[in-house]
């Protein structure tokens, strides 16, 4: 079942700013990360899907409902956590969430009960009775999430949910989002600038650049293992490099680690044995993974410097089929 889809969706602001340019893609339910580059693309897309903004041309649908004609039905099924401040400072969390629950169609007593439940799920306890003006950023973000969840939506749109949160707060919010997507069984679209978060929480990625679709793929497609093994030792890096090259491996260095080309599984044992023989302290031995940010780097990845004379740089390893050793 399609979660949402767009067809040639375009949005221009005035003559000069094109936020979305003939955007066409489809998504299945899951936890989806939405990344935008150069412009207001991701927020614009969310607003169009919610019916808060009209596109210049093209169409979009959520749960197979056309955004242009059946916006009301879509909004009954969707929860939205905006990026900016949106809470009245002189009401308490319970009052705001309960009021919005009623606006979403819940009868008064059900609204109160759901509000209490949802505020517990997001981790607001005694604070919920105090005026929102006195809340920390973390608490405000939780209230925003709570009002998006209170009417039990089937899909959540979260716009920069960790904005302004310190590391502990980010951690908790990301954990909450993961639980929402997995335990609570609600489809989630997270719009974020922070690739690290998306890698952590999402299982699918949509990347928009200059208004056009850059990628639409499961996250593991971006974080596959490469054909490079990185080895770090506490001291004696040069001796290790020599030893490995001496045993026929192609090695390079990136400053902290020695990079070994993986053609098959033999290098694993060679590294292990060389380290043991030389009596070196092995800190790390890990197959490098691609990172989401590789998508946004300009130009090819810089090839690391070759260490052994005559051995070509190990930069080409990425183009080879990634090795998935072990079980």
């Amino acid at each position: 079942m399609t979660l949402l889809s767009t067809t040639a969706l375009t949005k221009r602001y005035g003559a000069s700013i094109t936020a979305l340019d003939e955007l066409t893609f489809e998504l299945e339910p899951g936890i989806v990360g939405l990344v935008g580059s150069n412009g207001a693309g991701k927020s614009t897309l969310l607003k169009i899907l919610l019916g808060l903004l009209e596109p210049t041309s093209g169409s979009a649908s959520v749960f197979d409902l056309d955004v242009a004609t059946r916006g009301i039905e879509i909004r009954e099924l969707v929860g939205y956590m905006p990026e900016h401040d949106c809470l009245p400072p002189d009401m308490s969390a319970t009052d705001v969430v309960s009021h919005l629950a009623q606006i979403s169609g819940l009868p008064r007593s059900a609204a109160r009960e759901r509000t209490a439940e949802v505020l517990r799920h997001v981790g607001l306890y005694e604070e919920r009775y105090r005026a929102i003006g006195g809340y920390s950023t973390g608490m405000k973000q939780r209230v925003k999430l709570a009002q998006a969840l209170v009417h039990d939506p089937r899909l959540l749109f979260l716009d920069e949910p960790t904005n302004g949160l310190d590391p502990a707060g980010r951690d908790e919010m990301l954990e909450l989002i993961r639980r929402t997507g997995t335990e609570f069984g609600i489809a989630v679209v997270v719009a974020s600038h922070l690739l690290g978060e998306i890698e952590r929480v999402c299982d699918h990625l949509v990347a928009i650049e200059g208004g056009k679709l850059l990628r639409n793929a499961p996250l593991r497609a971006f974080t596959e293992r490469t054909g490079t093994l990185a080895v770090e030792v506490e001291d004696g890096r040069d001796r290790l490099a020599e030893g490995l090259a001496g045993r026929g491996l192609r090695v390079a260095s990136d400053g902290t680690a020695i990079l070994v080309d993986l053609v098959d599984e033999t290098p694993f044992d060679v590294v292990r044995d060389t380290v043991a023989e030389l009596g070196l302290a092995l800190v790390r031995m890990e197959q490098r993974r691609h990172r989401l940010e590789d998508l946004f780097r300009d130009g090819p990845d810089a090839a690391p410097a070759p260490l052994t004379a005559g051995a070509p740089a190990a930069g080409g390893a990425r183009d080879r089929a990634p090795l998935e050793p072990g079980r």
Partner: protein
């Protein structure tokens, strides 16, 4: 022993100040600085020195990071202690301001000015020799040429950040202070900015930036300063800091061709005090980091087990930070 009249009389035991003998000429030096507002102590007896390179300033919300940056920029006066920029006190010294560039988090930018005008004003205020050229350079550096002649009010958050950075760079200061500089920037801009900071650091500039995005700090910073409730909790290279946390056992994750056999062999080693078999890997708890790293390859080889992956699990900045701000 009589205390000198300039010493704060309420200090019970004046510790020997590292800077008392010879004033430090480090780019940024902070000596027993505190700053309070009535009963609220925003910064509490902090001392450190920073040199060329990139230092990350970390801490929970409300820990005192912004206050510290404003103290360093000479915009706030320390309630006690000294803030020295290249050996000179920072408070209200125009010559010192020329050596600093500050990118504050909150302060608004006049929305009716264009980007170029805003940077130009900054250039002129700093007495730059050729403001137009300097402005053009600064704007090119932050990649804002396309939008430079639009009013700042029309900018996105990321663009406003970049224009603030351009204004802080226009007089080419050797010291840069940035408060959450990447806020609102998209991934490409972030990477670009991080590269920019690295380049500037390698050219000899001193850069201090505060951030909540630890994976970025980990990538770009040479060292960190961790502030918690106004106090300095740690400083330096975070991996070294981790090593110093001896009361916290290290965990390694290991993937091999035979986890169970390997686990049994590890348990025979004194450095290891716990192993845990999970679905796809082995988790090893060790009493001492180096003791384990010295034996891991040998043990695997002797047991005839192929190693696919060995990595410390809590060696990340996230982990270190979490520990630092959670202990009492």
């Amino acid at each position: 022993m009589t205390t000198a009249p300039s010493e704060a009389p309420e200090m019970a035991v004046p510790a020997p100040s590292p800077l008392a003998a010879a004033p430090s000429t480090a780019p940024l030096a902070v000596d027993r600085v505190s700053r309070w507002y009535g009963n609220v102590v925003a910064v509490n007896d902090i001392s450190f020195e920073i040199g060329a390179g990139i230092t990350g300033l970390l801490g929970p919300n409300g820990a005192g990071k912004s206050t510290l940056l404003h103290l360093l920029a000479g915009l706030l006066q320390p309630s006690s202690g000294r803030v020295l920029v290249e050996g000179r006190p920072a408070w209200r010294q125009p010559e010192v301001y020329r050596r600093l560039g500050l990118v504050p988090e909150r302060e608004a930018v006049y929305p009716f000015l264009t980007g170029r005008e805003f940077v130009d004003v900054a250039a002129r205020l700093q007495g730059v020799a050729d403001p137009r050229a300097a402005t053009a350079r600064a704007i090119a550096t932050v990649d804002l040429e396309a939008a430079a002649d639009r009013a700042v009010g029309t900018y996105s958050k990321g663009m406003r950040q970049r224009v603030k950075i351009a204004a802080a760079l226009v007089h080419e200061p050797p010291i840069l202070l940035l408060d959450e500089p990447f806020n609102g920037m998209d991934p490409r801009q972030r990477l670009h900015m991080m590269d920019l900071l690295r380049t500037m650091a390698e050219a000899g500039r001193t850069i201090l930036f505060s951030s909540h995005i630890l994976e970025e700090v980990e990538r770009v910073a040479d060292g960190i300063l961790v502030i918690h409730a106004g106090r300095l909790a740690a400083s330096g290279d975070f991996r070294e800091i981790r090593r110093l946390m001896t009361d916290r056992p290290h965990t390694f994750r290991v993937r091999s061709s035979d986890d169970r056999r390997l686990a049994a062999s590890f348990m025979a080693e004194p450095a290891v005090f716990g192993t845990e078999l999970r679905d796809d890997r082995l988790s090893v708890q060790v009493s001492e980091f180096s003791a384990f790293t010295r034996i891991v390859a040998r043990v695997a080889r002797d047991a005839g087990v192929r190693l696919f992956e060995v990595a410390p699990t809590d060696d990340s900045l996230e982990s270190v930070f979490e520990y630092l701000v959670s202990r009492r």
